[in-house]
């Protein structure tokens, strides 16, 4: 009877009531997110109808996919036999048969391990750049990687990349000798002179002297498929960022000559379509070079693609530089840092951080632009499609081939986009 003794107040809280069924669980989520108002409900229904429309066509097509067939006609026969005469289906047998070609082009089969190894090592080299938690010593491998990848992909003497790397050492030597001079521009100038002298006058005779030890050489003609896209894309990405940083700094420079060159370069490149540059690389250069020179076509394309995206990169980074408050520049100056120190320690880390979305945007654009090389006859995945379709067995196919290439590119570009989002979260660019 204790309850009757204390009628005025509760001694314990009532247990919380579960929220009404319409506000929790699936129903609640649906009400809150999809049917919160009449307009929202209409949009939801329209979106569902659209998804259904797409799925109802794509799903049976995928579900009826044929993986084992020798020709398109056989595919159609199998689909008709299994699913009835009117059924449509994907003939993915072509992907199965041409998978290696899509990946490696006409690269010699016994050397497939080389691009594969280079591809795996690429992630090892990228890891310390992408994730700051990894030991910094791994960066040395990242520096070696471009030469290593070149040697793995094209083969030839191991001394070619080594001698070329020695040019950087020569440049480093020049930089240190020049650093003693009082004028700031002497060091980079001397570095450039040392390196160029090495590359143009010493490297070639030296390579001829050294023994020819290495892998079987592979010609650029044999490159193709996705490997070609990745080679051009990754090289372009790797070189366009530093080049873009230099161009952006040059454009803001007080040195009139440097500024004029940078502005002229950036505006010229931005005013010319990539296709035009590729056609120049492919045909015009050959006319103007001395006869007999064989300037590698892929190298030419890589140079053009790199220059092209470097100009865009420069503008993206210039945007980052412009967004930095003036106080950052003045603060760096007040600390007594010289131009290169201030740029390296204060300005660039912040400017690059702001520019991440724009930089990744340019990267993704560059990677997708590599398909334009199909125009100048390189057999990248798009170029290969024409060749595969011309084969009697696969003549007439459209969706399977283009769809497959689209999925390949989507995976890569989506990966890059996801990484940039991770980096943005980590560096918190929004509350700077």
């Amino acid at each position: 009877m204790a309850n009757q003794a204390m009628p005025f107040s509760r001694s314990e809280m009532l247990p919380p009531e579960p929220p009404p069924g319409s506000a929790v669980g699936v129903v609640g989520w649906l009400r809150a997110n999809l049917f919160s108002s009449i307009g929202n409900s209409i949009l939801t229904i329209l979106a569902l109808a659209l998804i259904w429309l797409v799925l109802s066509h794509v799903w049976p097509w995928l579900a009826h996919a044929v993986w084992n067939a020798d020709s398109y006609a056989q595919c159609r026969q199998i689909i008709a036999d299994t699913w009835g005469p009117d059924a449509g289906g994907a003939c993915l047998a072509v992907i199965r048969e041409r998978w290696k070609q899509f990946m490696f082009g006409f690269y010699p089969i016994e050397a497939y391990w080389r691009p594969t190894l280079a591809f795996i090592l690429m992630f090892v080299a990228l890891a310390p750049i992408l994730f700051s938690a990894l030991p910094r010593k791994m960066l040395w491998f990242s520096l070696i990687f471009p030469g290593l990848a070149y040697w793995l992909l094209w083969g030839g003497s191991i001394f070619v990349p080594i001698v070329i790397y020695a040019g950087f050492a020569a440049g480093w030597l020049g930089f240190h000798l020049g650093a003693r001079a009082s004028a700031a521009f002497v060091a980079p100038l001397l570095a450039a002179v040392f390196a160029l002298v090495w590359w143009f006058f010493i490297a070639s005779p030296l390579i001829n002297l050294l023994p020819d030890i290495g892998l079987m050489p592979v010609q650029s003609k044999q490159f193709g498929g996705f490997m070609l896209s990745v080679t051009i894309g990754v090289t372009g990405i790797a070189f366009s960022l530093p080049l873009g940083v230099l161009l952006a700094l040059g454009r803001r420079s007080d040195l009139v000559f440097v500024k004029a060159i940078c502005v002229g370069f950036i505006e010229f490149i931005r005013g010319v379509p990539l296709i035009a540059l590729l056609l120049v690389a492919s045909f015009l250069l050959n006319i103007f070079m001395p006869p007999g020179t064989n300037f590698d076509i892929i190298l030419r394309v890589i140079i053009m693609v790199t220059l092209f995206s470097a100009a865009y990169m420069a503008e993206v980074i210039r945007g980052g530089l412009a967004a930095l408050p003036r106080g950052q520049y003045e603060g760096a100056d007040a600390l007594g840092l010289n131009f290169w120190q201030a740029t390296r320690l204060v300005i660039m880390p912040q400017a690059l951080k702001i520019s991440i979305p724009g930089i990744v945007n340019t990267f993704i654009g560059l990677f997708k632009d590599t398909t334009l090389v199909a125009i100048i006859g390189l057999l990248d995945p798009i170029g290969l499609i024409t060749s595969i379709r011309a084969n009697a067995a696969w003549n007439g196919m459209v969706w399977e081939l283009y769809g497959f290439v689209a999925v390949l590119f989507f995976v890569c570009c989506f990966g890059m986009s996801k990484y940039s989002q991770y980096l943005e979260r980590k560096l918190r660019t929004d509350h700077r």
Binding site: Q219, S282, F283, L284, I287, G377, A390, A392
Partner: protein
């Protein structure tokens, strides 16, 4: 003034160097060890790489024969796939030594673009394909039709000429590739698709219901397709011309890939000269006496190549027609080998 002078001199020197280089294409090819042949990146029956990257087709077989004639080994050829827009620039700039890419021999290409077409390996013509539902049986009934047409080719100009000459109107639907044409035509975006007749049969065979489409009987243009080389190196032009002629001559004389070695013992002086048993025709342009023997050995004579790549029974399923030997009422006629 001075700048333009320097520029002009440089340009003149460069151009001089280029023509000097082209004067000795054979030496260049021999020094390089491979023949660079410009090919179509993919045209059913004419040129396409298989799953192992080996090129097959009617056009590329001419390149194999040429490589065999020069080196005695048909494998010593590199193919450079070229698009319709870039093919002639690639040839002019020295990117390729010879262009065998179903290119039509026309006046302006021969004269203005400074090319030499050294022969015709396929006499083609432009045709139309329409759906049966359209109820048309002749190209002359196509007044007001929408026509899918590949841009940048002679077919575009022929189409305009044909409709103008017959006082009809049409609506062009420009397309870039055969893949695009297929999708547009099958979706009904155009009433008719027009291209070289050699391609139409192969294209029709790949449609879901081939029996619903007909190829109209009219052939509205002359499209002599042939190998081309740069102006200015007549020796090289002769090599390409006569290697092709050797394939045609071999068919006329009944020399095939299989009986090639028996034919060396033939009493027929024409065969003996062709195969290099008698005289030394090859030496006249810097090749070995058995150059034609090697060329025929690569993929057989002209008729054998035709039958294996685009002839009846293949997916292209083309009759010899104009491309038959002159003795059979066609236009294939090789000048004598003597």
């Amino acid at each position: 003034m001075r700048h333009s002078l320097i520029l002009g001199t440089t340009l003149a020197l460069t151009l001089g160097a280029v023509s000097a280089a082209s004067a000795a294409t054979l030496d260049e090819v021999k020094a390089r060890g491979t023949l660079k042949c410009g090919s179509n990146p993919g045209l059913a029956g004419f040129a396409a790489p298989d799953a192992n990257g080996v090129w097959h087709g009617f056009d590329v077989d001419v390149c194999y024969a040429l490589a065999a004639a020069i080196f005695g080994d048909p494998a010593k050829v590199e193919f450079t796939p070229l698009s319709g827009e870039t093919r002639f620039t690639a040839l002019a700039s020295g990117e390729v030594d010879v262009l065998v890419r179903n290119s039509t021999w026309t006046f302006s290409r021969d004269v203005d673009l400074k090319l030499d077409f050294v022969g015709v390996n396929y006499y083609d013509g432009q045709g139309f394909i329409v759906s049966k539902d359209l109820g048309v049986t002749s190209a002359k009934e196509l007044d007001g039709a929408t026509v899918c047409i590949q841009t940048g080719t002679t077919t575009e100009l022929n189409l305009a000429d044909f409709f103008k000459a017959n006082g009809m109107s049409y609506q062009p639907v420009p397309i870039q590739t055969e893949a695009e044409a297929r999708q547009q035509f099958l979706a009904g975006a155009c009433d008719s698709y027009t291209t070289d007749a050699s391609g139409l049969a192969a294209v029709r065979a790949t449609y879901p219901n081939p029996e619903n489409y007909i190829i109209l009987p009219e052939i509205i243009s002359k499209e002599p397709l042939g190998p081309a080389v740069r102006h200015g190196d007549n020796q090289w032009g002769d090599i390409v011309r006569w290697t092709f002629n050797a394939l045609v001559e071999a068919e006329e004389l009944g020399v095939t890939k299989d009986n090639l070695d028996e034919m060396k013992n033939s009493d027929n002086p024409e065969i003996r000269r062709l195969l290099g048993v008698e005289g030394n025709l090859g030496g006249m342009f810097g090749l070995s006496p058995d150059w034609a023997y090697n060329a025929i050995k690569a993929n057989g004579n002209y008729g054998e190549i035709f039958a294996a790549t685009i002839g009846e029974g293949t997916p292209s399923n083309l009759a010899r027609g104009l491309n038959a030997q002159w003795k059979d009422g066609g236009l294939m006629y090789s000048p004598p080998f003597r």
